[in-house]
Structures are given as structure tokens and as C-alpha cells.
């Protein structure tokens, strides 16, 4: 009896000791858990997540193992019908494990997408990857750098680069979404004007009451409501279709006239002068709302980026790579833009800025037959050269130290910087911006102290020699050079210099042919015909010359038009007739004489 009691007592003491030790461990364990307050708050708002944490009890681990095995097995079997839901469930079961979100987003965007064969399916899986990270992963892990980095990488590499044979699909789909939301930036060379155009979105109120307090008439809101238009994407849909805003409306030759009475009423609402101010405020409100709620973007941070790096066109995927990579550093490490540099950003910052230099000018033409597939053309945007150069220099200064020399071997960015500026010098020189080209050529020679005989040559000879050495340029460089050459050619033509026109035009054609022969043989990189690209360029030149960095008064436009070949005139006339006729009416010019209809 005594022995039994003794054993019971010892066991009781032992159990007590174990429980006490366990209780003592709770505090230190909790303090070491990486769960931050925001994360717990984020979870608390989602009972489904909480339920999934608790309900399976001890079966959570086997359930997770089963789901992981099954998801990978189905993927190998080429069965993707359940892939998204399974991955959602796995992530919901492990919401605080960022690697899981990152893996599944990557799996969908990079692996599953390439196993599908139609543009719709491809885009579906890439956007599923984006949505998993942006809409869910970051919601539960708002301070996790891995997730921001993975998201930025999808925009930068998967969508922004050219290795995927459907890269153009991603660029088109994203541009279409952002065009619907934000439209094109103003056609101007002034960075300030682009930023000013974005400011109303940043300053727009966060709710309807505040919007009404800003003086938006209740009558306008009511009329919108009666027409079945909510303050959401339907407003943007109709605004983009019927308003006279040149930055969002389709070109005149594509515009659909309202067909029903309801559509006519809506068109009236979208065009009426009476509601111009209300419309502007509601537009900014809706854009802000959708940016925050649907795309989970922060307009204030977007504005900061534009102020620091230049006139970002949000229809370009590189702008989003820049956004998410910098936002991640801000949210995860509390770094402000001044503290973010090329070295702590996995070089996405530099990569995006370099791409924007070569492709920052986006020429967007809607496609009425397939709205998801607009026609996209790119041109170089020289406004990104200085920010890119600045970021290079800043990072290099960190590498070599405050008193170090930039040509020190510690500066492992120097070679890339010299290559970038060499390309920039060629682009600027070929594009007719000689003084800027000289400025950056001097940076290569005097600041970076590039070594080699080629850097001792004159600017002209440097460009010639570099072009000779380059052989086949990269994809982006090809189109940047092509755009620059056409710009110089048509600027010369507008000034009546046919010899210069012929020289630059021949260069553009040579660039095109070299690319076509060496790179364009691959279906994913095959360019559209030269004549089509040239036609689009001339249309842009006549309708939106500022987007190419040129200022063309109407008379110069007329002169340019009349010096075009009859074939080119026949091709561009249908596109320019509407807007240019209005311009002529405004300036009192006889359209038919200035822009005569070409002979059939």
C-alpha cells in the first residue's frame, strides 16, 4: 500500500514538474515567435483561417503532407483543375510561413503556366500567382520581404522579360488592366506634369461621405446609380468608352457610338460639361479605391516612386516590379526611398530602371475585337536615364566608400554601369540628342574612368565603333535603337532634310533586318512587319508627338504629312483624319488642303 502511494506521489510530482516547465517555456517561446501584431490582427479578421488552424487538430500535419503530395502529383500528371484551390488551402493551413506562399505562387506563375497552351490559360496561372501573393500572402504577412521580392520578380522577369514565348500576352493583359484603371500618362516630356496628373488619385478621399464633402454633387452620383453605374470598374468602363478624355478614350476611328437609350444617357453623363468637375473627382476616387482594394497598391508610395525615379507609366510591368521591390524594403525593414539602393534590392531596382529607359514609352492601341489584347509598341524613355545613372552612382559610392575611387575593383557595378551608359550614349546620339549623349559619354570617361581605346574616340566615332562591335543587340536595345533612328529620320523629314531622313531610315531598317535575321526567327520574339511598325510610329508622331519627345506645330505636321510617300499617306490617313481635323478646326486651318486625302 505504502509503495503504491509512494509511486503515485512521485508520478504526481513528476507531472507537476513537467507541466510547470512547459508553462515556463510559453513566455520565451512566444517572444521568439516571428508573429507580429499586424499578422495576428490580419489573421483575427479571417475566421476561416483561424478555423483551419484549429479544426483539423492533430491531423493538420498529415493533412498538409497529403495536400502537398497530391498537389505535386496532379501537377506532374498535367491536371490543374484543382491546383489553385489546393494551393489556397495549403497556404491557409500555414498562413504564417512565407516560404509556402512564395513557393506556390512561383509554382503557379512559372511552372503550371508553361504547361498550358492557350494565352488565356497562361495568363490565368500567372495572374493566379500574383493574386496569391498580393491579395492573400501579403495580407497575412504584411512585413515579409520574401513575398514582396517574389511578387516583384514575377513582374520583372516573368512578365517583363522575353524568355516565355507568351511574354507579350502578359504585357498586353497587364497593360489592358492598367489602361482601364489609370489610362495613359499625359503626352508630355515634363515629369512634373505626369506627377501632377497622378496627384488627384493620391489626394482623393477614402470614402463616399468625404467625396460628397468635397463638393461632388449628389445629383451626379444619383444619376450614375440610376444608370446602373457603381463607383467601381463599371464607372471606369463607361468613362473610358464615352468620355472625351484623350488619355483613356479609344481613338476616334475605333469609338463605338452609344447604341441604346441607356448608353446615350450614360454617354451624356460622361461628356456633359455640367458634370466635368464631379466626374474628375469621382474618377480620382474610383481609381484610388480600386488601386487600394483590388490591386492592393498604395497611391502615396506610387507617387513617391514617380517623384524619385521618373514618370512611371503604370501600364508597363517594370513600374510594378519597381513598386513591389521597393515597397517590400519599406514595409519589412522600414527603409525609406533614400535608403533603398541597388544593393539591397536584389538589383530589381536597377533592372527595372534600365528596362524603363529602353521601353518606358508605351504606345497603347486598343483592340476592339479582343479588348484583352491591345496593340503595344515601346519606345525609349530618356527621362529614366538620369535616375538610373544616379542609382548606379549611389550604389557604387556605397561599395567603394565615401573616399574611394569609382574605378576601384571593389566597385563590381562599374562594368554594368559603363555598358548601360554606352548603350544610352548610342541611343541618344542616334535619336538626335547629341548634348545629352556627350554628357553621359563624359561620365563614362571621367567619372567611371573606362579603360580601352574606344573610350578615347570622339563621340561620333565612339558610337560608330560601338555599333560595329555590338553585332546583334538585345531585344530591348534593338527596339530602343529602332525608335531612336525613326525619331531622327522623321524629325529630319519634318525639317525638310531628305538626306538625313534617308540615312536614319536606312539605319532603322538595318537594325530591324539584323534583328529579324538573328533573333526574330524565334516565334516569341518575331517582330511585326517593318511597314506596320513604321506606320504606327508615324501615327504617334502626328497625333501624340510629345510622347516621342518632339514638339510639332500643326503646320509642321502638315508639311511632314505632305512629304510622306503616297503609300504611307494612304496607311496613316484613316487614323489621323478625326483628331487632326478637330485640331485644324481649332486653329482655323483648312484640313482638306493641309492634309489632302491620298489618292486611292
Amino acid at each position: 500500500m505504502f509503495k503504491e502511494r509512494f509511486v503515485q506521489l512521485v508520478m504526481l510530482i513528476l507531472a507537476g514538474a513537467v507541466f510547470t516547465s512547459a508553462a515556463l517555456l510559453v513566455g520565451p517561446l512566444n517572444s521568439k515567435r516571428p508573429l507580429k501584431a499586424e499578422f495576428e490582427q490580419a489573421l483575427a479578421k479571417h475566421p476561416k483561417i483561424i478555423l483551419l488552424q484549429v479544426a483539423p487538430g492533430g491531423l493538420r500535419a498529415p493533412l498538409l503532407t497529403y495536400l502537398w503530395i497530391r498537389s505535386q502529383q496532379l501537377k506532374e500528371d498535367g491536371k490543374f483543375f484543382d491546383a489553385k484551390q489546393q494551393r489556397d488551402l495549403i497556404c491557409d493551413l500555414m498562413p504564417h510561413f512565407p516560404g509556402v506562399w512564395a513557393f506556390h505562387a512561383w509554382d503557379m506563375a512559372w511552372n503550371i503556366s508553361v504547361a498550358t497552351h492557350t494565352p488565356d490559360e497562361r495568363w490565368l496561372w500567372v495572374s493566379n500567382g500574383i493574386r496569391l501573393l498580393r491579395d492573400r500572402g501579403l495580407k497575412y504577412n504584411p512585413n515579409d520581404l520574401i513575398l514582396y521580392r517574389e511578387l516583384a520578380w514575377i513582374f520583372f522577369s516573368k512578365m517583363g522579360k522575353y524568355t516565355d514565348e507568351m511574354h507579350m500576352v502578359y504585357k498586353q493583359r497587364w497593360a489592358a488592366k492598367m489602361h482601364l484603371l489609370l489610362g495613359a500618362p499625359p503626352m508630355t516630356e515634363s515629369v512634373e506634369k505626369v506627377i501632377d496628373a497622378f496627384l488627384p488619385i493620391v489626394e482623393a478621399p477614402g470614402n463616399l461621405n468625404d467625396l460628397l464633402k468635397q463638393g461632388v454633387s449628389a445629383e451626379f452620383i444619383n444619376r450614375l446609380g440610376k444608370s446602373g453605374i457603381g463607383l467601381d470598374e463599371t464607372f471606369l468602363d463607361y468613362y473610358n468608352r464615352f468620355s472625351n478624355d484623350p488619355l483613356v478614350a479609344p481613338p476616334t476611328w475605333m469609338r463605338n457610338e452609344p447604341e441604346t437609350d441607356k448608353e446615350r444617357q450614360i454617354a451624356n453623363l460622361m461628356q456633359s460639361e455640367k458634370y466635368a468637375d464631379d466626374r474628375r473627382k469621382v474618377l480620382a476616387f474610383v481609381r484610388r479605391k480600386l488601386l487600394i482594394e483590388k490591386y492592393r497598391m498604395d497611391p502615396e508610395w506610387m507617387l513617391k516612386l514617380m517623384k524619385r525615379y521618373g514618370p512611371l507609366d503604370w501600364r508597363n510591368v517594370n513600374s510594378h516590379a519597381l513598386y513591389w521591390s521597393t515597397l517590400g524594403l519599406n514595409r519589412a525593414m522600414n527603409l525609406d526611398l533614400g535608403e533603398i539602393n541597388a544593393l539591397n534590392n536584389d538589383r530589381i531596382l536597377l533592372g527595372s530602371l534600365k528596362s524603363l529607359t529602353r521601353t518606358g514609352q508605351l504606345y497603347y492601341t486598343p483592340n476592339p475585337n479582343d479588348p484583352d489584347r491591345p496593340i503595344l509598341d515601346w519606345g525609349p524613355d530618356w527621362r529614366f536615364i538620369e535616375p538610373t545613372n544616379r542609382e548606379y552612382l549611389r550604389a557604387e559610392r556605397i561599395l567603394v566608400g565615401p573616399k574611394g575611387r569609382l574605378d576601384d575593383e571593389k566597385n563590381n557595378l562599374r562594368v554594368g554601369h559603363i555598358t548601360y551608359l554606352s548603350n544610352v550614349v548610342q541611343l541618344l546620339y542616334i535619336g538626335g540628342r547629341e548634348s545629352l549623349a556627350r554628357k553621359y559619354y563624359n561620365v563614362i570617361r571621367n567619372v567611371l574612368k573606362a579603360k580601352g581605346e574606344v573610350y578615347t574616340l570622339s563621340l561620333h566615332d565612339f558610337v560608330i565603333e560601338k555599333r560595329r562591335q555590338a553585332g546583334v543587340p538585345t531585344v530591348e536595345m534593338t527596339w530602343a535603337l529602332f525608335g531612336s533612328a525613326l525619331r531622327s529620320a522623321y524629325r529630319a523629314l519634318a525639317g525638310g532634310n531628305h538626306t538625313e531622313f534617308a540615312r536614319h531610315h536606312a539605319f532603322a531598317r538595318r537594325i530591324y533586318n539584323t534583328y529579324l535575321k538573328n533573333v526574330g526567327t524565334k516565334p516569341r520574339l518575331k517582330p511585326r512587319p517593318f511597314s506596320e511598325l513604321e506606320r504606327n510610329f508615324v501615327i504617334t508622331l502626328l497625333l501624340r508627338p510629345r510622347s516621342i519627345g518632339l514638339s510639332l506645330p500643326l503646320l509642321i505636321k502638315a508639311r511632314l504629312y505632305n512629304t510622306l510617300s503616297p503609300r504611307m499617306q494612304r496607311e496613316v490617313y484613316p487614323y489621323i483624319v478625326g483628331p487632326v481635323k478637330r485640331e485644324c478646326q481649332k486653329e482655323g486651318l483648312d484640313f482638306n488642303k493641309a492634309f489632302p486625302e491620298p489618292m486611292k
Partner: protein, 520 residues
Amino acid sequence: MRNLWAVARETFIQCVRTRIITIFIVLIAGWVFYVGLTVEGDGTLKGKIQTFLAYGTSLTQLFLSLATIFLATGIITRDIRNKHIFTVVTKPIARWQYVLGRWLGVILLDASLLFPTMGVIYLMAEYLRRQPTTYEIKAASAGRSGVVLADPDRLAVENEIFTARAVHQPDPFEINDALQQRWNKLVKERGLDNLIGDYLRKEMQKGSANPPDEMEIERRLRDAALRKKIITKIRKDLRRQIIEETELVRPGSSLRLTFSGLKWKKSMAGRLELRYRLHPFHSYRRTIASIWQVVNPKSGYSQIIPRTDSPNTASSFMIPPQAVTDDGKLTVYYINVPTGREKTIIQVKSNEINLYQQVGSFEGNIFRASLIILARLVFLTAVAVLFGVFLSFPITCLACLLVFSLGMMSGFLFDATRIVPAASPGGFDYFSHYLVRGIFIFIPTFSGTSAVDALVDGVNISWANLLKEYALIISRTDGNSNWLWNSLRFQVETGIGLRSMLALLIGWLIFRRRQVGLAT
């Protein structure tokens, strides 16, 4: 027979009156409607329907299995625990009638729940089928109404889900001549004795650190029966080697695949689907470009299908019925397209190539899928009866759940305990290998013919498959399996129905010998 029916009827009524069955009915109904109305899939209509069929059918199967386990075990163990059994066994009812009657009653209940549920799943799938695809929504908004023929999603729904397709594998490669040539060359170069000696040395070296005993090799070389066996094995290895070499397609080369025995009718409308998997030798390639050519040599029909696929992942394309010859043959060429510098040899394993051809209707298939699910329930009921006659309720439940779990995990367990010679298996590996295979002599592999997979992929469940599920299948083998009847060159597969009978028989034997009460 009347007694048997009376017990079965009584069991059915008893089951219907229990609260647990109401809970399961609510669960199943709620689940099917919930999934049907909220399912998303991968965003396509095909994915939506497939996800619904997968979740709807598998969870119905799970809920019914659990209900069966709880009901069957509950009824029998309660009879014994509450001494109701005294009022039964004292009646003129034989013990086998009691056991069989209880089993039959639960199965009747299962069937009365299963078939209406599968009916609802069918109706729900039909409802989803009538939903517009993304393409149709776009076409409608652009003012183009009516059926859009070129919509790949709609075509996939009709050709890959609402159908019942037989799966064909390519005909074996014609390698007899090549095999003979290779064999002759080998014998000429090495000599037959050397070949057999090398083989013996290799076999004897396995798992041993010491060199093989040459005397022993000499002795075995003189054994005529052994020599014959070894020659057969060497030729078999050679055959495998030639097949593997044939399956390697160099850049710019092609591989010819033929399919025979396809059903052919002039009115044949449904398209065929070819599923394949490509294995590149250099895995740096993210996608593989290939060209497939489908040829009907008799009619002159030919179609070229360019593809870009992920490596090591199943992919598929559709083939029009015109490609099949009148005598039911199809010829397909795979061409390895060299793309730039990224040239690589591609392995096309013929056992991973499947051709799907419509042979039946979705309605018939869903009915047969229900019978497959019922087969599993039949077995679980028998197991519950077997354990219920001599164990208490919790232990019977646990035993049944264990059997159920093992059956569901059979595929994984077989794979996990596979002996891989290259991995130098140890004692534990052999133990687990034979343990698992031993267990599954009695427990059926529920992952065999999967009703869920068949419905999701639109694969026909043939009556032969059903027979396999319910009864005993004896088929000829090549004599190389590890089974007991290897030497007889027969493979015996016992279906679920037969195992159920075995479980019932054991249950009856135990119950017959069991003393349910003691008169004092």
C-alpha cells in the same frame, strides 16, 4: 430466404431510425450543393466541373464509408451489448442468416443513399455544363451569340468530361529483328558461355563484398535448365534496352507510334485525346518544342500539331476522328524539334502515352462509378460485421477505420515499400515490402479503379473493370512477378466482392462458435 430478408429489412429500418444517418445525409446533401454552387476550379468551365466531380464524388464516398462503418458496427455490437441478440438467436433464424441479413440491410441502406446522391451529382454536373464558358461570355458581350464552335473550353467539357473514353496504349515497338541482330552480335563477340558466366557473376556479386566463387560459376554453367533461364533473362534485358533506346529521340529525329484496335464508326463524332509526357536529358530547358504528326495512310489524311510543353509533365492534344483508319488504326509521329542551341535528346516512354477514345456515355459511366463505390461499401460492411461479432463497438470502429485507411492509402504504401535494387535495400526494406503486400492479400486496394478519377478524366469504367472489382480475375502473366503463383504463370486478383464474402464467412464462423449467453 424469408428470414434473411426479415433481418435485412429490420436492419434497414433500424439504420434509418438512427440519428447518425440523418447527420450523414445532411452532410452529404450540404456538401454536394455547397461544392456545386461555390466551386471555382482553375477558372475554366472544364476545371470547374472536374473539381466539382472530384470533390463531390470523393467526399460522398468518404461520408458514406464512415456512415457504413458506424452503422454496421453499431448495430451488431449494440445487439450483443444490449443483449438484444438473445431475442434474435432464440428465434428460428440461423446464425448465417443473421450475419448475412445484417450485412445486406446496411448495403441496402448504402445503395438507397448512394444512387440518389450520384443522381444529384449528375444533375449538378449537367447544371454546370450549361453555364457559359469565359469565351462564350466574351462572345456574347461582343454580340456574337449561339454556340461558339472553336471554344477550346467547351470542346474540352464535351470531349473530356461528359463522355466515357477507353484508354489505349501504343502497340509494342517492332524490335524482333533488331533483338535478334543484337543477340547474334553479342554471342559472336563475347561467346554464349562468357555471356552466361558474366550474368552469373553479376548475380552472385549482388550484396556480397567477396568475389564470386569461380568453381561455383563453372558448376552452374553446366546446368542446362539454368542456362536456358539465364538466356531468356539476358534476351529480356536486351529487349528492354532496345525499347529504351527506341524511346530516346535525338534532335531532328522522330518516333513512330501506332495504335490498333480502336473502335471506328462512320458516324464517330468525338475527338481522340493523346496524352504524353516528355523527358528531356537536359533539365535546364523550361519548355520543350515538338511537332506531332497524325497520319491516316489509307485516306491520305495528315495533320501537323506543333507543341510547346513543360518537361516531365503530362500534356495532351486532340486528334480528329478522321485520323483513324477503317480498320481502327492510328499512326502518330513524334518529332524532336531542335530549337537553337537548346538541343537535347527527349525520352518518350511508351507506357506514358495514352490515347483516349470515346466508347460510351457519361450517364452510363456515372452509374458504373456508383457500382464501384458500392463495392467498397460492400467490403467495409463485411469487415464491420466480421469484427462486430466478437469485438466491442470502439475496437470494431477502429479496426474498420484502419482497414479503410489502408485501402485508401494502398497506392502510396505500395510505392513507398517498393524494392529499388539500386538503393541497396536492407532487411527492413524487404520486411516492409512483403508486409504491405501480405496485408493487401486480404484488404482490397481502394485506389485501383478509382471512380473519382474515371469521372474527372472521362475514362470509361468497363464492365470488365467492374467484374474485377467484385469478383475473381485470373490472368496469364509472363512469370516474372513475385507472387506465389509465379511458377504457374498465372496472376490471381481477388475482387472486393470475393473478399467481402471471405470476411462474412469468417465472421459467420466466429459468430457460430461464439457463446452469446450462458444459461444458469
